[in-house]
C-alpha cells in the first residue's frame, strides 16, 4: 500500500458531504452486520475512519496512513474475536465505495480521482481480511493450548493411587504432557499405583499404543505400578487385529476394575460397611 495522493479535490468534496457519506455508509454496514452492533456504535467507528481516510487522501501528514492501518487492524481483530464472518468484516470497509459512488456519480470531474479512491479502499479491505484471518488463527492456537492444558488432569483416587483420565486423540505432544504430569504426580504424591484410563480415547492404533506403553514404562522406572483401563470392546478388537502386545502390563475393562486391582496391589481390602 503506497501513497494515495492526488485526491485533493475528492477529499475536499467528501469533507463537504461528511454527514451524508457517513450516514449512508453506517446504514450499509449496519444492514450487513444485522444489528449485532448498534447503529450508533457503527457510526461512531466510521466517523473515526472517515476522518483518517480524508487525512490520507489530502496528504496532510505522513502519519495518517499508519494510523488508519492501525485502527483498521484493531477493528478487524475485534470483529474476529466477536465472531463476525470475514465477509461482514470486509463489508465494513468496502461499502464506503458504494456510499461515495452514489454521491459522485453525477460529478464527472471526480471520476479519475474516484478510481484511486476505489483502489485505496480495495487495498484496505484486503488488509482487513488478512488481519481477520491472522486474528482467527491466533484464537485457534490459543484454544488448542488451553485444550491441551485442560485435557490432562491427574486425579487422586485413593491414598497412593492416582489416575489419569484421557479424553480425546492421543498424539506425541499430548503423550509427552501426560507422561510428564503423571510422573510429576507420582513423585509429589508418593503414589505407587497409577491408572491410565482410555475410555475417552476414540481410537487406539499402533502409534497410540506405543505412546501408552512408553508412559507405563516411564512410570515403572519410578517404581510405580501402572494399569490401563477403559478398553472398550471395539478397541480390544482393534488392538488384537493390529497385533499390538501390551506384554505384562495390566489392562482392565473399567476404571472400577483398575481401582480394585490398584487397591489390592497396595495391600488394601474393601469390605462391606
Amino acid at each position: 500500500m503506497d501513497s494515495y495522493g492526488g485526491q485533493g479535490r475528492m477529499a475536499a468534496y467528501l469533507r463537504d458531504h461528511h454527514d451524508k457519506v457517513v450516514g449512508r455508509w453506517a446504514e450499509l454496514v449496519a444492514a450487513g452486520v444485522r444489528s449485532r452492533i448498534s447503529s450508533d456504535e457503527v457510526r461512531h467507528e466510521l466517523e473515526d475512519f472517515y476522518a483518517l481516510l480524508l487525512r490520507v487522501m489530502a496528504q496532510e501528514d505522513e502519519h495518517a496512513m499508519g494510523e488508519l492501518r492501525a485502527a483498521l487492524d484493531e477493528l478487524s481483530r475485534s470483529r474476529a474475536r466477536n465472531g463476525f464472518t470475514p465477509r461482514e468484516t470486509a463489508l465494513g470497509v468496502f461499502s464506503v465505495k458504494e456510499a461515495v459512488y452514489e454521491l459522485v456519480a453525477d460529478a464527472v470531474e471526480l471520476a479519475p480521482e474516484y478510481l484511486t479512491f476505489a483502489q485505496m479502499i480495495d487495498d484496505l479491505g484486503l488488509r482487513t481480511i488478512e488481519t481477520y484471518s491472522a486474528a482467527r488463527e491466533q484464537i485457534i492456537a490459543d484454544q488448542s493450548v488451553a485444550m491441551l492444558e485442560l485435557s490432562t488432569p491427574v486425579v487422586r483416587l485413593w491414598e497412593g493411587v492416582i489416575a489419569v483420565p484421557l479424553v480425546g486423540t492421543l498424539d506425541s505432544a499430548r503423550t509427552q504432557l501426560v507422561m510428564e504430569k503423571l510422573l510429576e504426580a507420582l513423585v509429589s504424591t508418593g503414589a505407587e499405583q497409577a491408572v491410565l484410563d482410555i475410555t475417552g480415547v476414540p481410537t487406539v492404533d499402533t502409534e497410540v499404543a506405543q505412546h501408552l506403553l512408553k508412559t507405563v514404562n516411564a512410570a515403572r522406572l519410578l517404581g510405580a505400578h501402572c494399569t490401563i483401563s477403559g478398553i472398550r470392546p471395539q478397541v480390544a478388537q482393534t488392538i488384537v487385529a493390529l497385533g499390538i502386545e501390551f506384554g505384562d502390563i495390566a489392562t482392565k475393562a473399567t476404571l472400577a476394575d483398575a481401582l480394585a486391582l490398584a487397591l489390592r496391589n497396595a495391600g488394601l481390602k474393601v469390605v462391606p460397611a
Partner: protein, 117 residues
C-alpha cells in the same frame, strides 16, 4: 577420579550417586560393588539416583549391568529416586531396565527388599 561410596546397612548395600557419572567412575563402581557383594554377602542393593539429572544410554546400560552382577551374588537391585525427566529419557532411549526393580524413594526401596511392602 571421583569414587562412589558404597555403604552397608544390615544386609543391604546402599549406593548414592551424587556426582556426574563418567565412564571411568561407572566402571569403578561396578568393580567396587562386585567386591563388596562378594565380601559381605549382602542380599540387596539400593542405588539412589535422586541427584542424577542427566542420563545417556551408557548409564542406562550400567544400571542394568549392576542388576545382572548383583543377581549373580543372589542379591536384588532396586533403583530409587529416579527423576521424571530421567525416566522419560530412558524410555525414549528404549531402555526399560529389565531385571532391575524400582521404587519411588530409598525408604520404599528398602521396604521392597525386606518384603514388607
Amino acid at each position: 577420579m571421583d569414587r562412589v561410596p558404597i555403604v552397608k546397612i544390615g544386609r543391604t548395600l546402599f549406593v548414592s550417586i551424587q556426582i556426574d557419572l563418567e565412564d571411568e567412575s561407572v566402571v569403578r563402581l561396578q568393580e567396587d560393588l562386585a567386591d563388596e557383594l562378594a565380601a559381605t554377602g549382602a542380599t540387596g542393593v539400593i542405588i539412589d539416583i535422586t541427584a542424577v539429572e542427566i542420563v545417556d544410554s551408557f548409564i542406562g546400560r550400567m544400571l542394568t549391568m549392576i542388576g545382572s552382577i548383583s543377581r549373580l551374588f543372589d542379591a536384588e537391585t532396586v533403583i530409587v529416586g529416579m527423576r521424571p525427566a530421567v525416566a522419560i529419557t530412558l524410555t525414549e532411549l528404549g531402555l526399560s531396565l529389565h531385571g532391575v526393580r524400582t521404587a519411588l524413594n530409598a525408604e520404599k526401596g528398602l521396604a521392597l527388599l525386606n518384603g514388607t511392602d
